[in-house]
Amino acid sequence: MRSVGCLFSRPITVLLQGGCFLITDIFKEHKGFGKQIFLLAKNELIKTYKGAVIGPGWAVVKPAFTVFVYWFAFSVGIKTMKMMKVNLGSHDPFSVDFFTFMFIGIIPWFFIQDSIVQGAKTLRNNRQFITKVKFPVSTILTYTGISRLYVHIMLVVIMYIYVFFAVGPSWYNLQFFFYCPLMFVFFLALSWSTAPMSAFSKDFESLIVSVMSGIFWLSGIMYDSYSFDQPLKFIMLLNPINFFANGYRNCFLYHRPFFLYKTEFCIFMAEFAVVFALGIFNYNRLRKKLPDVL
């Protein structure tokens, strides 16, 4: 009976202590669980879209309609918003039609919005994995995040077809493979804080949901966040959503490298470090209390 012992990859001694989690615990929970994370991510998608006639088509219909509404309101309704003049720091402003400008910026926004709102709700929605069985809890946040990433990549493909013909391809497009994983990890690390806190208190969850529509208008999705005078220009740099909206525009529209605007890049990286550290801190602080409060 003990002969199977050699097949275990991980030591199976479980040590539970009253003290703190180690910093590496989130990574440890992921070790050896990689395949399972992708399988669970796939199932998360099935769960979201099953039972509908066009199924995953809804992942496209909703954003498409949103894009149409904003385009209609700003370009057709408010007739002044047909062309955008973006201040990229050179003498002549970068000129682009409003639809292209907005479309490229709003695609990362859809992912960001879902990541913040759904990410905060994830642990509460998957409480059976926390209160009933032993489960690597932080992987729940990872696999739900990956399922959103699938949807995001689908939207990016659609967007790229448009970009290919409207703007034209460029080597700078490849920076997508820098911005997209960074965006995924940034909002995953954010959910290490928000998800346990929302599980703890429903008020915190409601707080996040309520501020989201405001955050949309405070971010440079529909307008150019570079276009302000100081100090507002600097304040806009503090919003990490601007970093990604402008980052996607760097890839597909402005065709400039991600490190060109050094202040923006450095501010974001500092914020990233803070969010990451806070995420680990909050997750470790609340992880052991989760089974008691959910």
Binding site: L15, G32, Q36, K47, K132, K134
Partner: protein
């Protein structure tokens, strides 16, 4: 004596009872001042050795569930230390922890990975589990299409077939119809006679006596007695009798 498979060292666990949602929200940022608490376990220490069958008795709210949850790794102690050396299979909430959209087969793997098993090993026991659960072709259907009996059968089959080092059994367990129930009982007996460590939770003195030579009696989170089952049950029953007299 062989090595200890489960060790509890001065384990305490307190649940904080928040007055309302405001207090709960506040507790996210500040430590609550003089909160109402419920001490579920109070300085509990014991060792359980490989191959032992230990009964855990006590009234509702004595801390039995909290204790089991800690052994299965769901709940965590506030202070103290718990060491579990091996795979724990819990026959507590059999239908919990399934991913509803995944098929029965995929759920076998999911459960296996959570327990730290390798693909190769799961493959070996996969057929045994499917046979035992009597699911037939349903094994490749999503678990959400299962009846509650089928889910329980699958849950039971997975837990008993992973060759656990520790088996946690709640007596109040129900697994479908009479014939399957008998099959389960036989399987549990097989596991016990194979030398697996068993923790058995029950209100029923007779069934504890039948299975476990040693028992632990918990009252309000404290170990009142830990010893041979006959002794423990006597303490437990004396206490119950004294309560009745008071009334």
């Amino acid at each position: 004596m062989s090595e200890a498979i489960i060790t509890f060292k001065n384990v305490s666990k307190t649940y904080i009872l928040y007055k309302n949602d405001q207090a709960r929200f506040k507790a996210l940022f500040f430590k609550p001042r003089n909160p109402k608490t419920n001490k579920a376990l109070n300085d509990v220490s014991f060792d359980i050795y490989r191959g032992e069958s230990v009964g855990i008795v006590g009234d509702n709210g004595a801390g039995k569930s909290t204790l089991l949850k800690m052994i299965t790794g769901v709940a965590f102690p506030d202070t103290g230390e718990i060491i579990v050396n091996g795979k724990v299979a819990a026959l507590l909430e059999l239908t919990a922890g399934f991913s509803m959209e995944m098929t029965g087969r995929e759920n076998i793997y999911l459960k296996g990975y959570i327990l730290g098993l390798e693909d190769e090993y799961i493959k070996q026991i996969e057929e045994k589990i499917i046979d035992f659960a009597e699911l037939g072709d349903y094994i490749d259907q999503p678990v959400r299409t299962y009846s509650s009996g089928m889910k329980m059968r699958l849950g039971f089959a997975i837990n008993v077939n992973i060759e656990p080092d520790v088996l946690v059994v709640d007596e109040a367990l129900s697994v479908g119809d009479a014939s399957f129930k008998r099959k389960c009982k036989d399987k549990i007996k097989d596991i016990i006679s194979a030398g697996t460590t068993v923790l058995y939770v029950s209100h029923n003195a007779e069934s504890v006596r039948e299975i476990c030579p040693r028992s632990i009696y918990l009252r309000k989170g404290t170990v009142i007695h830990d010893g041979p089952t006959d002794e423990t049950l006597k303490v437990y029953q004396d206490y119950k009798a004294s309560l009745k007299k008071k009334k």
